[in-house]
Amino acid sequence: MIRVQQEDFDVGQEIKSLRGNDTGIGGICTFIGTVRELTSDKAISSMTLEHYPGMTEKALGDIEIEANARWSLSGSLIIHRYGKLEPGDQIVLVVTASPHREAAFEACQFLMDWLKTKAPFWKLEENKSGDHGWVDANSSDDVAANRWNEAKNKG
């Protein structure tokens, strides 16, 4: 399940909904990304997330299908927010449930690595002086995402 929304989300409630009454689940892995106040050397006052409506939903849906093809999952959820956020706010939620913990962990990490490098979102940071700047892509995120291609080629 995927959701792209401005509103905040309730992690406990989302996990509960995803689990339902499925007693085949043995492990649930959850990742929450939050807005950091200090990203480089200066404190930000807010962060605005722009995205590509239409492509975002398509791309998130595709990668969720890919994760379910790679791992045996009982359920999965991706929520990504957009709009103006403040330090401490939640940005993204990924939840994966599986009979086995390794699958839950790996699928969750795969989805996060993918979101960081392929989901069409852009972060604009604003500081207290009124300056703003677009966050640069991080090469370590590409490295993290590429390992899943290697894993796929090997397998």
Binding site: P120, K123, A137
Partner: protein, 83 residues
């Protein structure tokens, strides 16, 4: 053809989205970029370094040598930074 720009590409072109009539000599993304650059300084500034520009045609990532046709939705944007 619908063109869409995001993040600093949008700021540099000064345009969120626009509809253009595809000139007959333009049949790939690269040719579209060349044609745009000739339209003005704002495009020249936005497309100054193609290494940091990503492109999607009809909401799928593609390379610059991809063919395009009238009716396509073409989006230009920097490397993504979500998650």
């Amino acid at each position: 053809m619908k063109l869409i720009y995001f993040a600093w590409v949008r700021e540099k072109t000064g345009i969120s989205e626009e509809d253009i009539n595809l000139p007959s000599e333009v049949s790939t993304v690269s040719q579209l970029v060349e044609w745009l650059i000739n339209r003005g300084d704002n495009y020249q500034s936005a497309f100054a370094d193609l290494k940091v520009i990503k492109v999607a045609v009809n909401q799928d990532y593609v390379s610059f040598d991809t063919s395009i046709k009238d009716g396509d939705e073409v989006a230009f944007f920097p490397p993504v930074t979500g998650g």
